[in-house]
Amino acid sequence: MNLLNIGIKNIKGNLSSYITFFLATSFSVMIFFIFAMLIYHPQVINGVMKSSFRQGAIGVEIVIFTFLAFFVSYTLITYARKRSRDYAILQILGISSKQFMFLYLFENFVIFFSSIITGILLGLLFSKLFFIIIAYIIKDTVLDMYFPYKPIIITSLSFISVFIIVALISGLSMRFIKIINILKSNRKSQKTPKYNIIKIILGVLLIAVGYYLAYTATPKNLVQIFFPVLIMVIIGTYFFYDQSFIFFINTLKRNKKLYYKGINSLWISDLAHRLKDCTWVLFFSTIVIAIGLTAFSSIYSINYNARENLENNQEYSIVITSLDKFSKESVIDLKYLLDKKNVKYEYTNINAIVSKEFPNSVYIEKNKYLKSEINDKDDSIRNCNEKYILINNIKEPNITNSYKRIYTKLGKTYRNTPIYIVDKKEYTRLMRNMNRVQYHIFSYEDITLGAKDLTDINDQYYSKYKKHYLFHSKGVQYYRYTSQFNYILFLSFFVGIIFLICSGSMLYFKFFNHIEYDIDKFQNIVKIGLSKNEIRNTIRIQMAILFFLPIGFALSHSLFAMKALGNTAQFNIFTPVFIVIIGYLILQILYYFVINNRYTLHLISKIKF
């Protein structure tokens, strides 16, 4: 029998209370590990996907790690505190500092280390699923499985270093806790929290001013007001939880008709204590959820508006420009693809000339242009007598001749190469030193049809003909845009879920830490006649308030933030924000039910009726 045995017995004996700590840590490790697997995947490193893909994943990994490190530390400290009574007893029995640190680190390390292993195993298990989802979202092939020795090392080292730092600090601080306070805490009664009217007014003012500034934000002042508003709202939020809410509860208590009705007095009287206890967790989750929601909604809004912009702009669906010999092949390919996809398109072409290669200037003969189908139905080009007519908005075209600028649909489609319309004489003169090319123009309604195949054709010919080939397609743009945005969207959604689960779990830990107090309290009231259902309802109401208060508050924060962004970017925000919020709420409600059930079951099982 030695200290090691005691440690092992302690772990066994406290298994039921350590299980949540274990699960929380395993979950965190799993998430981190899966992302590490993505980042260090050979196919990702060797550039099957774009480098921005890997950078995005690294960015998310850093955000996740910061947050998970905080979450894991919080969990570790909470669970160590739960056992402070045991540690106090050991100190009374005269455990030395060395022995104590050994026992403390050993017990926590065993749990922590097994969660790291579990997390990595779960990560391996779920990584394939994760890769499939990623592939589906970015519309690419699924990554192969591989043995991720680097991610395993990085994950283990990162979390072990978090553990060492937090466990050492919390272990040492545990040594200085006054034993007497711990032993007394069983019997300690709680004081009713008080509020300060000045702080309440200050808090309300800060939020009101912050909201007003956000609501009236203009593109000019957004950058200037950004940080002041952020700070005002953060401080205001803290005061709200710390002060205003207690004021609100006291007001409820004064309304005797309400307060004495049913179980109202039971949950209202206790709520102030719970809130005081959870102030930091609530505050923290509100800010995190608000930031997450705002980021997510703004990305979603941009994406939501992207397709609409693409469809409404004055461009052709597909335009190919290339040397005649090259373009024939791709036009056949394209027509075949569009027919296969049942796309009803209009096709036309026109000859042109280019000096050597793109993006040098392209010239089209005026008469041919006027006769062709791409001639816009107005007479501005016909009536123009200038030798050179530039039809797109290139800023500094590299020619010495004078020119007049008239925008056409073709010009709007091709923005990078200057396109001139010249008269027959000039055209013939230029032709001698130039290459003959041809424009192939396709128009059709739904640009999303066959977008992926179009992108493949595009990539294929670009790599084949390089600078002798120009390809423009709304479908390709749309495809590139959405797959990239879907990826970012997925990443931010993923981070959002983690925030949600973690902040919910922290609230749960808070509840769970007080379960003994709850058991005592309800046991006493059961004696004077309180039913199981009434206990359930009391917990349900309290938990619902604590669970949905941060989300409600965060919603209001992010709505104002989105309003400010909407004012400046001038796009439709309310539909996308609404979709995001509904999704988020559904998840939160699900999570609430799971946690509420778990807690109530545990509580009721400990109470004798």
Binding site: M1, N2, L3, I6, K9, N10, K12, G13, N14, R85, D86, I89, L90, Q91, I92, L93, G94, I95, S96, S97, Q99, K178, I179, I180, L183, N186
Partner: protein, 246 residues
């Protein structure tokens, strides 16, 4: 053995309250002293300070010539392990350990030989009448049994001072009697100096001497004569005198 000189304790949280206003007390080797007094008189504070889990605002405590004010953190844990044994109202056993392991804990912390530990736990558990329960866990035994386990843990390292804070406060009268007889026995046979804080006049009547505290000051003390019954009556008289004075 134990000398307390002009001990004061002021709680500064919120309103300043003086729990102990200058206590002087001496306890001889092998004595069995009871401390009584109404709620809030400071008796538990006094015991907590003697047991080193609370610190005095001023004044000195000497146990076997060792001044508790001048003891380092490192020496303190060794001091607690070797010289002090403590028993509480709520037992304070570790739920994850068996009765046997709970009793053995101080010896384990002292890195004693396994054989020694086993022998010692066995002999003590016989004296305490809990040798049948050694493999059970604290939540499987009764309050009286739990308190006897706690006493076993308190005396296994043969401390020079046994401190008991309301050891019968959570027990029925039969168990209370058993526990007090046990403490008395240990005091007589092992010559363990014992200090007991209690509300219960029956429990206090097992002591050689009872000290009364009121409002943070020593108020009176009475000694046991030949009969425990007579001593019990004296204690009751003293307590009713207290109540009348209120």
């Amino acid at each position: 053995m134990l000398k307390i000189k002009n001990l004061r304790k002021v709680y500064t949280k919120g309103v300043n309250t003086e729990a102990l206003k200058g206590i002087n007390l001496e306890v001889e080797e092998g004595e069995f002293v009871g401390i009584m007094g109404p709620s809030g008189s400071g008796k538990t504070t006094l015991l907590n300070i003697i047991s080193t889990i609370d610190t005095p605002s001023s004044g000195d405590i000497l146990i076997k010539g060792q001044n508790l004010n001048k003891i380092s953190k490192k020496e303190l844990s060794i001091f607690r392990r070797d010289e002090l044994g403590m028993v509480f109202q709520y037992f304070n056993l570790l739920d994850s350990l068996s009765v046997k392991e709970n009793i053995a804990l101080p010896m384990i912390l002292n890195k004693e030989d396994v054989k020694n530990i086993d022998n010692e736990v066995l002999s003590i558990s016989k004296t305490l009448g809990i040798s049948e329960l050694l493999d059970k866990h604290p939540y499987e035994i009764s309050g009286g049994e739990a308190q006897r386990t706690a006493i076993g843990r308190a005396i296994i390292n043969k401390p020079s001072l046994l401190l008991a804070d309301e050891p019968t406060g959570n027990l029925d009268s039969k168990s209370s009697n058993d526990v007090m007889q046990l403490i008395e026995l240990l005091n007589k046979e092992r010559k363990t100096t014992t200090i007991l804080v209690t509300h219960d006049p029956k429990a206090a009547s097992f002591c050689n001497r009872v000290v009364f505290i009121k409002d943070g000051l020593l108020f009176n003390e009475i000694h046991k004569g030949d009969s425990q019954q007579q001593f019990f009556n004296d204690i009751l008289k003293m307590l009713s005198f207290f109540n009348n004075k209120l």
